[in-house]
């Protein structure tokens, strides 16, 4: 067996372990992050109305589920594709510092005023 092949075997073993380890770590991180940030926002969430329970028989429920799935799929498609279909509105910002600063000023000016 040629030495390059031997090396390659070791590389394969090691690299795939690292890849799996890395993605496991990421999975853990993601789990933790969604949990931590959700907890913070839960106070808000409890105030929101419960989703209305699906009414109707089996057939009805199935149609419902399909409709929801289609909607979700469509929504997801639009989201995840950076909107290839809808034309993005022509770059709204004509001013760089300007826009941002103006907004900040308005907001902060307002709040500092209210704060009085």
């Amino acid at each position: 067996m040629n030495p390059t092949l031997v090396n390659s075997l070791w590389i394969t073993l090691l690299s795939m372990s690292i890849v799996f380890a890395a993605l496991l770590l990421l999975a853990g991180l993601m789990s933790a992050m969604t949990r931590v940030f959700r907890d913070r926002e839960e106070t808000l969430a409890t105030l929101a109305p419960e989703p209305s329970p699906s009414v109707g028989g089996e057939q009805n429920g199935k149609m419902c589920a399909a409709a929801i799935a289609v909607a979700v799929a469509l929504a997801e498609q639009e989201q995840s594709t950076a909107h290839p279909i809808t034309p993005p509105q022509p770059s709204i910002v004509g001013a760089w510092q300007l826009g941002m600063r103006t907004r900040q000023m308005t907001q902060k000016g307002e709040s500092s005023r209210r704060g009085k």
Binding site: L9, M16, A21, E76, S80
Partner: protein, 380 residues
């Protein structure tokens, strides 16, 4: 100064052989595939045109060639693939993955093709740096393949980029038969519960930062690629820097793509791709193309096998089809899996799961490419 001298001045510079003529034809075929078949046209068209230029005296290796200027500015510095990744990152939505973190494992399984191909190339006698570059076609991610190849075996940039992008276009032709062969109808009919955790804006913003830190610490060689991808994603999710996010998705990626393609095409001189007067026919080009195709197949099979494993472990709650999206090739592979499930059962919607696995595959590809790069660089 006589007339002959004048004529020599005009026509002297260029040497044009039958091999160059053949390369023109190959460039023409790439352009044809781009225009008529729409195989990744934004890349194959510039690559094809660059290939034609390379064989008319304007290669990336020719002194005073403007293609050399572009090559040195964007490929040698690795800037072009990174700029493209900033744009790609600004187009990716990681929410489906964030909502279902366990799908991340599929993105690891989809990288076996890289190493299967590496082993085969090594067995066939390729030196390690070339074998690794060929293997990274199995990342099924253009910028990653180009980034790694530029550092390990820049003379193979042409065939590797052509393989990576043209096979990527063939995903809808390569994958379906394998998917049907490897899964039973019953497996393909499995429905997956869709109860994702809600993903807050804060999570979406923190995610790219976290990933950059984590991956840079685990696999420092993958750091630039991951950093560029995640920078783009951060610009997207921040919501307060629309100007920058749009620049990344438009100006930056368009210009980088055009010149990346041209510069890679400009490395495809006849002597590197087809026939070197010193060493004869460059069989390695054909082997790269063949091994690259294999990498796609191995990736898909490994992904599906892991999908079946997850199906078994969870007691049938995972549709193995989504294993095929772990290969990267975002977002084509994800869409294709969801489509296959719909074909079996028009009520079976697994798109969200497929896209989650697909984005995990994107991350996995970059990590695998980076780790491979680090090891081989250290051994060279």
């Amino acid at each position: 100064m006589n007339v002959l001298d004048l004529l020599a001045n005009i026509f002297g510079g260029l040497t044009f052989t039958w091999a160059n003529a053949l390369m023109l034809l190959i460039g023409g075929v790439l352009i044809y595939l781009a225009v008529a078949k729409e195989y990744e046209p934004v890349l194959l068209l510039p690559i094809g045109f660059g290939c034609i230029l390379a064989n008319l005296g304007m290669s990336a290796y020719a002194e005073e060639s403007f293609m050399r200027v572009i090559y040195k500015a964007g490929i040698e510095t690795e800037l072009f693939p990174l700029l493209i990744f900033i744009g790609v990152g600004a187009m990716i939505d990681f929410r489906p993955l964030l909502a279902q973190p366990s799908l991340a494992l599929l993105g690891a399984a989809g990288q076996f093709g890289i190493f299967g191909t590496l082993l085969l190339a090594a067995a066939l006698g390729f030196p390690l740096n070339e074998a690794a570059s060929i293997g990274v076609i199995g990342a099924i991610d253009g910028p990653t393949a180009i980034f790694v190849t530029t550092k390990l075996a820049p003379h193979l940039l042409g065939p590797i980029a052509v393989a990576a992008y043209s096979y990527m276009s063939l995903i809808p032709i390569i994958q379906p038969p394998i998917m049907r062969m490897m899964t039973t109808r019953k497996e393909r009919l499995i429905r997956m519960a869709y109860a994702p955790r809600p993903v807050s804006r804060m999570t979406a913003v923190a995610f790219p930062v976290m990933v950059t830190v984590a991956i840079s610490l685990i696999a420092p060689s993958a750091a630039p690629l991951i950093a560029a991808l995640m920078l783009g994603n951060l610009l997207r999710e921040a919501g307060v820097v629309d100007r920058l996010s749009k620049a990344a998705q438009n100006e930056i990626i368009n210009i980088a793509t055009l010149f990346l393609g041209l510069a890679i095409g400009a490395t495809m001189t006849a002597d590197k791709f087809l026939y070197d007067p010193a060493t004869g026919i460059q069989w390695q080009t054909l082997m790269v193309l063949g091994l690259g195709l294999l990498a796609f197949v191995v990736d898909t099979i490994a992904g599906l096998l892991f999908g079946k494993l997850m199906c078994f472990v969870t007691g049938g709650k995972v549709n193995p089809l989504i294993g095929a999206c772990g290969i990267s090739a975002f977002p084509m592979a994800g869409r294709l899996s969801a489509k296959m499930a719909l074909e079996e059962d028009p009520d079976n919607f697994i798109l969200m799961h497929a896209m989650g696995a697909n984005t995990a595959g994107q991350l996995g590809s970059v990590i695998a490419g980076g780790v491979l790069l680090a090891v081989v660089m250290g051994m060279m």
